[in-house]
């Protein structure tokens, strides 16, 4: 019961340095650190002097990645214990940012989605944000019935953390919400559920 070829399904094209940007704002989470290191390797001289790196320490190699990114020697380096703490600081920075800033994001889909949501609220068009997916494919899902969000969903079926309905996770994505859509999986015949699969490991 997979739903393919949905237009709103985000595509992450990868991080490449934009030489014309006046300032580079690089935000990463967990395994997304790999993309930041690769970005730095691709950049020309002087890139890091104009770069700020924000990193959420997570995953088995979080501390190792943190040390590695800190050692790059960017103009600014901050590490955060969680996504919400990073978003708080990022929102503060974006409030006073000026045109010419380029945003680079890498990490899990849920992380990228939440950063893009913040960017959108500061007037940044999603098409000019560079993104690269790393780490788990787990999804952030919004229940279309109670509107509650369930994080890190790995299976096609998930029990909504808020209202308890069993949701089928679709490929329909909302940039505004930074989440995939979850719909009642047994609305037609209550109790009759499709097989559960781990589609987003």
């Amino acid at each position: 019961m997979s739903v393919g070829r949905i237009k709103s399904r985000p595509i992450y094209k990868g991080l490449v340095p934009d030489a014309s940007a006046k300032r580079h704002l690089i935000v990463a989470e967990g395994e997304g650190a790999e993309a930041v290191a690769a970005l730095e390797a691709k950049a020309s001289y002087g890139f890091l002097e104009r770069a700020a790196i924000f990193y959420v320490v997570s995953g088995a190699r979080g501390q190792e990645h943190k040390s590695r990114l800190e050692a790059l020697g960017a103009d600014v380096f901050y590490s955060f214990p969680s996504i919400p703490t990073l978003l708080f600081r990022l929102n503060g920075v974006l409030t006073t940012a000026t045109m010419g800033v380029r945003l680079y994001v890498s990490g899990t889909e849920g992380f990228i989605g939440q950063v893009l949501q913040a960017a959108l609220s500061h007037g940044i068009d999603h098409q000019c944000v560079l993104t690269e997916h790393h780490g788990s494919l787990a999804r952030r899902v919004q229940c279309i019935h109670c509107k509650g969000f369930t994080e890190m969903v790995k299976t096609n079926l998930v029990k909504c953390e808020h209202c308890g309905i069993t949701l089928l996770v679709r490929d329909h994505y909302s940039r505004r919400l930074g989440a995939f859509m979850g719909v009642s999986a047994d609305a037609e015949t209550p109790g009759e559920l499709p097989p559960s699969q781990e589609n987003f490991p």
């Binding site: 934009d18 014309s20 940007a21 006046k22 300032r23 974006l94 940012a97 000026t98 045109m99 010419g100 800033v101 380029r102 500061h122 007037g123 940044i124 068009d125 098409q127 000019c128």
Partner: protein
């Protein structure tokens, strides 16, 4: 595909607003109101001068919410095929014209936090409605208007009177320059820039903005072109099994329409991309005059914008 319905209008007012620039007020001929439009829209005006027919796009000025009449401004150009001369010299009060419904290829990005409008010469026209719309909505904007000399600054004093310090005039004959690097520097995130004017000015502004790290998503432009004159040539329309001659003052689109073939179009000014036509073969050189095709498209030579581009050679076969 291009069976656009037309609106019949009468000329209700003609005013000379600057050297070689006239403003026309167009009122509905049947007494009803005209469709409302969004700021940045244009209409195509069909002009019939004896056997000749022209169809040129003009930006709508005035208030977007005013449905009683439309206002357009026309610059009389020396290298004209005849459209602007017809508007200036032949058109009289109460003359009838046919216009298209408004089309917007240059809209205000409503997500913008701030809007910087840069006009050069007659390129001021779309910004008159944009300034009105932004001002009504209480959105921050600045209008920077470059004119050649004081005699050519159409609407400069009206705009200054209406919007005060939000409007800046730069007069080239007084050695005043557009302070572009200052305009591009230190603008808040979410600022959008719009430029309309001569091609060289548009290219200069966009290149500077990109060099300052502005993303394409925040840069907007509109530049209508008039189909240039050139040597006559022949075009073979493969699907219609027809050959047409394109006259020296005619565009391919006009020749195709004269032959009774319905081809898609929208702006007729090389900007929108609607008339993109596949080239099946070309023994000669396609003279691309549009703002739409990429340099890669041009290199491949498989596409032509028939409203504006021409051909030099022996055989052009298109998929029409």
């Amino acid at each position: 595909m291009s069976g656009h319905s037309q609106i019949e209008v009468r000329v209700g007012e003609i005013e000379t607003v600057a050297r070689d620039i006239k403003r026309f007020r167009l009122e509905p001929a049947s007494g009803t109101t005209l469709p409302l439009f969004s700021a940045g829209s244009h209409v195509r005006v069909t002009m019939t001068d004896g056997a000749k027919s022209f169809c040129n796009p003009y930006s709508l000025m005035g208030s977007p919410t005013e449905g009683a009449s439309y206002q357009i401004s026309v610059l009389k150009t020396a290298m004209s095929r005849g459209g602007s001369h017809f508007m200036h010299d032949t058109l009289k009060l109460d003359s009838r014209l046919k216009i298209s419904h408004p089309v917007n290829l240059f809209p205000v990005d409503q997500r913008g936090r701030k809007h910087i409008l840069i006009a050069g010469g007659i390129g001021i026209t779309p910004f008159i409605s944009m300034a009105e719309q932004l001002s009504c909505a209480g959105r921050p904007f600045e209008l920077h208007y470059v004119i050649r000399d004081r005699g050519r600054g159409a609407y400069a004093s009206d705009l200054t009177a209406k919007y005060g310090p939000r409007v800046r005039i730069y007069c080239r004959s007084d050695d005043e320059q557009l302070p572009l690097s200052r305009l591009l520097d230190n603008q808040p995130l979410g600022t959008h820039l719009y430029v309309c004017g001569p091609a060289s000015m548009i290219e200069g502004v966009l290149a500077s903005a990109r060099a300052e790290g502005w993303p394409n998503e925040n840069l907007h432009t509109e530049h209508f072109l008039a189909p240039p004159v050139g040597e006559p040539f022949k075009v073979r329309l493969e699907k219609s099994s027809l050959s047409v001659n394109v006259g020296e003052r005619q565009s391919i689109l006009e020749a195709v329409e004269a032959a009774g073939v319905d081809a898609p179009y929208l702006c007729r000014g090389g900007a929108c991309g609607q008339c993109e036509t596949n080239v099946l073969s070309a023994d000669g050189e396609i003279v691309h005059n549009d703002h739409y095709l990429t340099s890669e498209d041009r290199r491949l030579g498989k596409k032509i914008m028939i409203c504006i581009s021409r051909f030099k050679g022996n055989g052009l076969v298109v998929d029409l």
